[in-house]
């Protein structure tokens, strides 16, 4: 769930935000229908917006009985601490980790690897997979695979990999890049970007070897129902919590 000023929004290729309701309400509905984890991303940049987001995290922690990750605007150790104190189980970092890779080591040392999810937005450019920051606006010279390996060595507990080429277009996840990451790394890889139908979820596990898959709009707009999706995956011999 992308959250702006306390409201859930979801874009297509990172632009065109559409509103999809109250994040806590939506989160509760998802936990009731079988989502395994929730992820809330703060896409407001202002100080006021950040306070609203922290209050939302506190409400989520009070009302929802499954694990959740929060991210967006995490720049330093204090931000991580504030989110954990508000009740988040895990915190995801993205641009700040590329700007200051030592942040990953610091968080891992202070709170343990299990709290730190390193989010990586990448695009398959003509010269290979590259990382992007600032919500996909700024290209970095850093290659996807080099960076993924580095964050693992620095102590990240999980990698949340979003393929910007696949995000929002509903043509399936980036299974080749995912398989490459998952087969190489020793930490879990969460796939994000590209879910359009239930077969894409089968492929992300069977071909992409992902440890988990994340989706937003197909769930927000009811195009895929979680209980049906999980039953389908179970029937396809993929282990899921039913």
């Amino acid at each position: 769930m992308d959250v702006k000023n306390g409201e859930t929004v979801k874009g297509t290729n990172f632009v065109n935000l559409r509103s999809a309701g109250d994040p806590v309400e939506l989160g509760r509905r998802y936990s009731q229908c079988g989502a395994d984890e929730l992820c809330f991303l703060d896409i407001t940049a202002s100080f006021e917006g950040r306070k609203t987001f922290t209050d939302m995290v506190r409400r989520v922690a009070r009302e929802i009985n499954i694990p959740f990750t929060v991210g967006g605007g995490i720049n330093e150790l204090d931000d991580v601490e504030r989110m954990l104190e508000a009740g988040a189980d895990k915190v995801s970092v993205n641009s700040a980790a590329i700007r200051n890779p030592g942040l990953i080591d610091e968080v891992a040392r202070r709170f343990g690897s299990q709290v730190i999810v390193c989010a990586i937005d990448a695009r398959n450019d003509a010269d290979g997979w590259h990382c992007y920051t600032k919500g996909g606006r700024v290209r970095q010279e850093l290659g996807l695979y080099d960076w993924a390996h580095e964050v693992q060595e620095r102590g990240a507990g999980e990698i949340l990999f979003t393929s910007m080429d696949h995000d929002g277009v509903k043509q399936g996840f980036a299974v080749e890049a995912l398989a490459h990451l998952a087969d190489w790394l020793s930490i879990p890889v969460i796939a994000s970007g590209g879910a359009g139908c239930r077969e894409h979820f089968r492929d992300v596990f069977a071909l992409g070897h992902a440890d988990a898959a994340l989706a937003a709009s197909v769930f927000h707009f009811g195009e895929i129902l979680i209980p049906e999706l999980k039953q389908y995956l179970h029937d396809e011999n993929i282990e899921v919590r039913l």
């Binding site: 936990s31 395994d36 922690a61 009070r62 009302e63 009985n65 499954i66 694990p67 954990l84 104190e85 009740g87 189980d89 709170f111 343990g112 690897s113 299990q114 507990g157 999980e158 087969d183 020793s186 930490i187 879990p188 440890d211 988990a212 919590r241 039913l242």
Partner: protein, 198 residues
């Protein structure tokens, strides 16, 4: 009154929130008298064993917890601290369960440590699991585990079979996080609360 042990481990508020959802206003405290007087005590947490143990000793909480007579529920690092010894930081623990805590050793590429995520519990043998089905899913975050032993009341499989829950007399514990395990976890917590009724 339900008391939650206050110490330097993380993740304690998740348990307070989960008890709150079950309508229980628990007291978060490190006060020996309050802990002894409570109808039930929850000993939760996430963190590192040696640091947590030194804190408990410095605050005299080791003696208090060991001496509790009412139902006690240790969760995650709480369970590990209730054992005899932990490989994590080569730490002598409370010794309530006469068993030792060891680290997962990966055997294949898929064996990721810590175990983070949902897994299923079997061999449920305690009122703690009343109304919980064999194979029910629970949420885990841990690198260390207790092998299957005489005190095992539920087991789980990750790399190898291990104890998902333990019991000795009035002391219960789970390696998993019932406070994050959806409706199954809520059932387990309310079964524990049921045992605490005076």
């Amino acid at each position: 009154m339900i008391a939650v042990v206050k110490y330097n481990a993380g993740n304690i508020f998740s348990v307070m929130n989960a008890l709150g959802r079950l309508g229980v206003e628990a007291v978060l405290t490190d006060d020996a008298d309050l802990l002894r007087r409570a109808d039930g005590v929850v000993f939760p947490g996430q963190g590192e064993a040696s640091g947590a143990m030194s804190y408990l000793r410095e605050h005299g909480l080791d003696v208090v917890i060991r001496g509790l007579r009412q139902p006690v529920l240790g969760i995650c690092i709480g369970q590990q601290l209730m054992c005899r010894h932990s490989q994590e930081g080569d730490t002598d623990c409370l010794g309530i369960f006469p068993v030792d805590v060891v680290r997962f050793v990966p055997e294949r590429h898929e064996d990721k440590v810590p175990q983070m995520g949902w897994n299923s519990i079997r061999g449920l043998a305690s009122p703690l699991f009343d109304g919980v089905n064999e194979g029910a899913y629970i949420y885990n975050v841990h690198s260390f585990y207790v092998p299957v032993c005489d005190f095992t009341i539920a087991s789980c499989e990750y790399i190898l079979p291990y104890s998902a829950a333990l019991r000795k007399d009035n002391f219960f514990s789970t390696q998993f996080h019932p406070e994050k395990s959806g409706s199954v976890g809520e059932r387990i917590l309310s079964n524990f609360l049921e045992m605490c009724k005076p």
